[in-house]
């Protein structure tokens, strides 16, 4: 197997005195889709925020593409090839859709490449192209999610981190988003996916980890977890 793109070892994260993540270890290899599933408050979002430099770790190591991320500020981490589409989408509501996408490519200098990737984002999500000059705040929730994903892709990331892309979406919109993630996977994009919709996430994932109150309690391939009895009971709503 190739060297891992992301190696997280014994990562602990605290908010004040409360330890939200209590020592987790996992890897993401190039081309893989890895998912973190679990209930609210399990520490999934906190983990992603720490990986992208928004929140400092308490201890442990994070190596991305061979470099330690310790002490590197968030605005430099994206330059290394780690893009983060945050929970709640966080598009820039008063900027246009086109401007939001441009900001995704903020650190890139190749204007031709940026133009091509913008076109690609519009092919992936035609609604964004149709409404390119409108303020992003006028988009529906699902469309905002598309924009957040498109924006994250604009940095040409080596690893795309998606936090709760299906949150709050209608079933149809959720299917659309999941189909897009599958499409990205098929083109070789490496993805770290945090999802509450465990069924959808595990179906897509090569590797999955179940988090509970700051710890990884179960790991396996997507298929293994999908058929695991405790996972089915706890996260797939079966008795």
């Amino acid at each position: 197997m190739t060297a891992p793109l992301l190696e997280v070892h014994d990562l602990r994260i605290a908010y004040g005195k409360i330890e939200a993540v209590k020592g987790i270890t996992f890897t993401v290899h190039p081309g893989q889709v890895v998912t973190l599933i679990g209930t609210n408050g399990a520490g999934k979002t906190t983990t992603l925020r720490t990986l992208s430099g928004l929140h400092p770790p308490l201890s442990g190591t994070i190596r991305f593409n061979g470099t330690s991320l310790r002490g590197i500020p968030a605005h430099r981490i994206v330059a290394l090839g780690l893009a983060h589409s945050p929970e709640g989408r966080h598009i820039f509501p008063r900027l246009t859709i086109a401007e939001n996408l441009q900001l995704g490519a903020f650190l890139r200098k190749d204007s031709d490449g940026i133009r091509r990737d913008t076109e690609r984002a519009y092919e992936l999500f035609p609604i964004l192209g149709e409404r390119a000059q409108q303020p992003a705040g006028t988009l529906s929730g699902g469309e905002q999610q598309m924009l957040a994903m498109g924006r994250a892709l604009m940095s040409r990331p080596k690893l795309l981190m998606l936090d709760e892309p299906s949150m709050g979406l209608s079933p149809i919109m959720m299917q659309k988003i999941m189909a897009t993630i599958a499409e990205l996977k098929a083109t070789g994009t490496t993805i770290l996916l945090v999802e509450q919709n465990a069924q959808a996430a595990l179906t897509l994932a090569d590797q999955g980890h179940v988090m509970e109150t700051g710890r990884i309690v179960l790991s396996g391939t997507g298929a293994e977890l999908l058929h695991d009895e405790s996972v089915r009971k706890a996260y797939l709503g079966e008795d």
Binding site: S52, G53, L54, P73, A74, H75, R76, V78, A79, A83, H84, P86, G88, R89, H90, F92, P93, R94, L95, E99, Q102, L103, G104, F106, L107, G137, G141, Q144, R151, S155, G168
Partner: protein, 309 residues
């Protein structure tokens, strides 16, 4: 009615001055949600910076010295504003909100006292150069003072430059992104610390231009001139909708015209002779603020914050 054109033009000039200062409050607030109560003193140090250049150039006509005086004021104001950000406010970025507020008030007093104590002869008012020559007579009931021409040219130029910068340039767009969502701006690769410094710097530069305008207008500057100017400009920023740069300028103009109108007209209202004239203008200015906030708490151009998750 005979006095109306003059009242409006004088109010516009005064308001443009308030607006330039108000932009400093509103930009900083828009990005770090801090009311920089030392901003009035950023104006004041700019005035002393410009005066210093004037004193270094004896015999040079004011028209020729003015660009250098503005430059001198801008350098001092930007230096003090960015130093305040770096050493006073940045260490408190994650502190409770009262801490930077108290720091700002402390900084305001410290800057006043530093100038009072160390600038030559600053313990009393210092003379600031003024344009000589008659006002321009535009109509029999309207004349334009030379210092009014300065602010009426400078303020629109500053606004135009700022508007183009924020909407057209890459850094300007990064600034908008930082104001709307700082964490996500960092995820885009934007160094938000540098954007914050830039907001303080732009506010400082505009403050210095306003300081020169104020000096030209009054003919005197003093270590405590920033207090009432700062308060008025802060009022303008709130009036226009804090966080919105066009709102700051609009708020300034509304406030300026309200002030000059109150001087001209209130004394003509039967029974209110005692409440008109220059002495009551600040009362009417702040009364206007209260009135607007009762009707539109978010200010004239402010938006109600309604973030969709």
């Amino acid at each position: 009615m005979h006095q109306l054109p003059q009242t409006l033009v004088s109010g516009l000039a005064l308001g443009a001055l308030y607006g330039l200062i108000a932009i400093g409050y509103t930009m900083v607030y828009g990005i770090v949600q801090l009311i920089n109560f030392a901003h009035g003193e950023i104006v004041m140090v700019g005035a002393f910076g410009a005066l210093t250049i004037h004193l270094w150039l004896p015999g040079v006509p004011l028209g020729a010295a003015l660009p250098l005086m503005i430059l001198g004021g801008v350098v001092i104001s930007v230096a003090v504003a960015t130093a305040a950000e770096r050493f006073a406010y940045r260490p408190l970025r994650n502190a409770p909100r009262l801490a930077p507020l108290i720091t700002a008030i402390g900084l305001s007093i410290a800057l006043q006292q530093l100038v009072w104590a160390f600038y030559p002869n600053a313990k009393k008012n210092r003379d600031f150069p003024q344009f000589h020559g008659n006002a321009f007579q535009l109509a029999d009931n309207l004349h334009l003072q030379r210092d009014d021409v300065f602010i009426l040219v400078a303020a629109p130029l500053c606004m135009l430059a700022l508007g183009l910068f924020t909407t057209k340039s890459r850094t300007g767009r990064a600034m908008q992104a930082t104001a709307q969502d700082p964490d996500t701006a960092r995820l885009m690769g934007i160094n938000t610390d540098r954007i914050i410094v830039l907001a303080f710097a732009i506010g400082g530069a505009f403050a210095a231009v306003a300081a020169v305008a104020q000096g030209l207008h009054i003919g005197q500057i003093s270590f405590d001139m920033g207090f009432i100017l700062g308060l008025k400009a802060f009022t303008a920023a709130v009036l226009g909708g804090i966080g919105n740069i066009y709102g700051a300028m609009l708020g300034g103009v509304v406030l300026g015209i309200a002030e000059t109108s109150s001087i001209t007209y209130i004394q003509d209202i039967p029974g209110m002779q005692q409440l008109g004239g220059g002495g009551w203008k600040d009362v009417w200015a702040f009364a206007l603020l209260i009135l607007v906030l009762l009707i539109r708490p978010q200010g004239l151009l402010g938006e109600r914050v309604a973030d969709r998750a």
